[in-house]
Amino acid sequence: MIQYNKFILDNGLRVLIHKDDSTPMAVVNVLYDVGAKDELPNKTGFAHLFEHLMFGGSINIEDYDEPLQRAGGENNAYTTNDLTNYYCQLPAENLETAMWLESDRMLSLAFNKKSLETQRKVVCEEFKEHYINKPYGDVWAKMRALTYTVHPYGWMTIGKELSHVEDATLEDVKAFFKKHYCPANAVLVIAGKVETTTALELANKWFGSIPSGEKYNRNLPLEPVQTAPKFLEVKADVPLDALVKAWHIDSRLEKGYYVADLITEVLGGGGSSRLFQKLVKEKQLFSNLDCYHFGSVEKGLIAIEGKLVKGKSMQDAEDAIEEELQKIMTELVSENELQKVKNKTESVIAFEDMALMSRANSLAFYELLGDATMMDTELSKYQAITTQDILEYSKIIFNKNNSNTLRYYSKN
């Protein structure tokens, strides 16, 4: 059981305090309930660009990083399609510096023009480094656009295209801040060698006076149920043919999510998984093969992705995957196999919980989902899954009409 106390400040800010005396460090984690799914289709990549601007100085503090480093701290942040998360870790004695810094940028940014200009360039380089200047770097931009017709998961966090980032204006930045960056839309977690009362006092002192802001109620377009298989073919300057398939699955809190998570383990988790053993080792159709999902809050995707062994045909590769899917849709997995993937899940959770930062992050995430206590009930949700659940849910998700296929051919 993870120990923590939850408070709600008068301005609506949710504060979770997790005390751990075994570490000399403290972590301050601020999660904002905004991600790439909250962007407009013609202004994508904005949530992530904004994350960069959060380091460009706030209303009362010219530079975010320097005072934190002076206090012996380090920090980072990330943006996903669902959320934006900022975290810093520093010696517990200096906790207040982190509270001071995080509260000031929740109060208001400096909206520095130079910072916007520089970070637009930096993000464009990030875009190039990860998605353009890399073989197969555009696979998921294409897959998202193929799988989602109306839902904003149809684009990547980095944005649909460089121009969206390049065209961002200071007015866009201000409006985005006002809409999403306020106590009503945030979760603050303080963790580590802290006294709960002291941490709460500091939270009140630094965050208590920030205007609540308006709770953002998202109203995202629902992705209609897919009724026919979709295909896309691409030819690119890459050395090997690749095959990517994806199917829609349940949202984060639905049972199907947990079943799908175990299905990814049965099919693609480690050296004894079905796809690896059959298609990489025995049939040697693929040189590597992965099965995974995105952990999305809304209805997400399960994917199988691999590169073909040279000389093997796309058709054979697809047929072989289909054969494995037929198997999991028609035959119960053995109790032993189910136990194996449950054991793996137990182990993953135990290792994740080792790091203070990761615990703080999980608390914030589950609070965002509705209730941080879910962190403790996750494992039992996996434990309750039966071989029948795997069979039934496989039939639903691996239905042909729910499938999306990208055949990514080498030009050479």
Binding site: D20, D65, E66, R70, L90, L107, E125, D237, L240, G271
Partner: protein
């Protein structure tokens, strides 16, 4: 009720304890030997019921006579024994939710187990089997070669991958383990016999050190002794193979790897002595000022001011015999030359101008603070000890590192900059 808001001054940083006032302490390891003389280093710490076990062999590519034999032996260790197929071995570790990884480095090669501590005794017997009875089946070797070649082909399309290989070749020479890399032809030439010979000499009868950390089961010493205490390791460390680096004569290189590339991988590097050299720890501080963290001069200038790149870093390579000082970035293709100019400008500033007290204090605090964070957790403590032991360093190195961070002067750093940050002594490589 709180009514401090009137008084709250958000422009002033709250009082901090200077991290340089902290007394940092590295939790000692427990040492014992198995029946066969194998050294075991253990760190008991942590709250979660998990542990990490690492067996370190002197079986890195330093010891191979033919390219990629060390790496291949390491990779294929768990791909079959007389009584178990690769699948059965994987199945065993997967069933217990454990991770068995292996890695091959320059001097060492490792087998690493992460598991729930309750399962340790179920897993060690199979590791014993891998160390006494791996058979390296031909079909496993064939699949490995095929897939590694394909992976290599994909990597060779990436400018950063190509740049990392070439810069090391310039620094150390292709004949040297640090400078050598692999081609698809090298994979073709790998044969089972060479792997088996390497395995016999460097694993079965090899030099092995064992590191274990986490919340350890009470009987872990007996479990380790049972599993590894009877193996015929040769722990006397008689065999030391000398290989000398031969840095390239030419200093500047440009390469077009992908004519349509939109970014350039830039590497600027020089040879540097190893951790035993008296300049090493002081240079780590200078490196932090220069390009070692987010607030460094290279990041502030080239990313945060100019926006040429998503990231630029400098670091001292983590090798045992000798090191290199490396500046590394992927930047816009059209600003590669401007980026290189700025790197040299920053070197010159460090040579010409003393680092002011404010900046140096910040770097000291940052280094101590992050070191404190790095010492948090059993695996982190264990891996620091492992690094010291493999580099033949003692606790003095740790204490000295802290003392250096706290006390090195701006004058000393300037003289190090003059000694080491001379552009003429750096290799410079741009790969598009």
């Amino acid at each position: 009720m709180y009514n401090q808001n009137k008084m709250l001054n958000r422009t002033i940083q709250p009082h901090i304890t200077q991290p340089t006032e902290f007394n940092l302490h590295l939790k000692p390891y427990q040492h014992f030997t198995l029946d066969n003389g194998t050294n075991v280093y253990a760190v008991e710490a942590g709250e979660q019921d998990v542990l990490m076990l690492e067996l370190v062999f002197n079986a890195g590519n330093w010891y191979e006579d033919k390219n990629i034999i060390a790496g291949s032996a390491n990779f294929l260790l768990k791909n079959g024994t007389s009584s178990k197929t690769a699948y059965e071995i994987n199945e065993h570790f997967d069933f217990y939710g454990a991770y068995l990884n292996r890695s091959c480095y320059n001097e060492t090669a490792t087998i690493t187990l992460h598991c729930l501590n309750k399962n340790l005794h179920q897993l060690t017997p199979v590791i014993t089997e891998l160390l006494s009875d791996a058979i390296f089946p031909e079909n496993e070797l064939a699949i490995y070669k095929q897939n590694q070649k394909q992976r290599l082909e994909v990597n060779l399309k990436k400018c950063d991958f190509v740049a990392n290989r070439l810069i090391d070749e310039y620094l150390f020479g292709f004949h040297h383990p640090y400078g050598r890399y692999t081609s698809t032809l090298d994979y073709d030439a790998v044969d089972r016999e060479s792997i088996v010979e390497f395995y016999k000499q460097y694993y079965q009868k090899g030099n092995c050190k064992i590191f274990i950390g986490g919340k350890l089961p009470v009987n872990y010493q007996a479990v380790l002794n049972e599993a590894f205490g009877k193996l015929p390791f040769n722990n006397t460390d008689l065999f030391q193979k000398e290989i000398h680096s031969a840095p390239a004569i030419t200093k500047k290189y440009n390469l077009i790897n992908d004519a349509n590339g939109v970014q350039a991988a830039v590497r600027i590097a020089r040879n540097f002595p190893n951790k035993h050299h008296p300049d090493f720890q002081k240079t780590l501080v200078l490196n932090n000022v220069f390009g070692g963290f987010f607030g460094s001069r290279l990041m502030s200038n080239i990313r945060e001011d100019k926006g040429y790149t998503y990231g630029i870093h400098s670091y001292l390579q983590n090798h045992i015999h000798e090191s290199a000082w490396m500046i590394s970035t992927e930047c816009g293709r059209d600003v590669a030359a401007a980026t290189i100019d700025e790197v040299y400008k920053e070197m010159k500033i460090l040579q010409d101008t003393l680092i002011d007290a404010e900046e140096l204090d910040l770097v000291r605090n940052y280094m101590i603070g992050t070191l404190l964070g790095d010492l948090d957790g059993p695996f982190q403590i264990l891996s620091r000890w492992k690094s010291y032991i493999l580099n033949d360093l003692s606790i003095d190195y740790f204490n000295n590192a802290i003392k250096t961070i706290k006390t090195v002067s701006a004058e000393e750093l300037q003289s190090l900059a003059k000694k080491y940050l001379n552009p003429d002594e750096f290799y410079e490589l741009v790969v598009v």
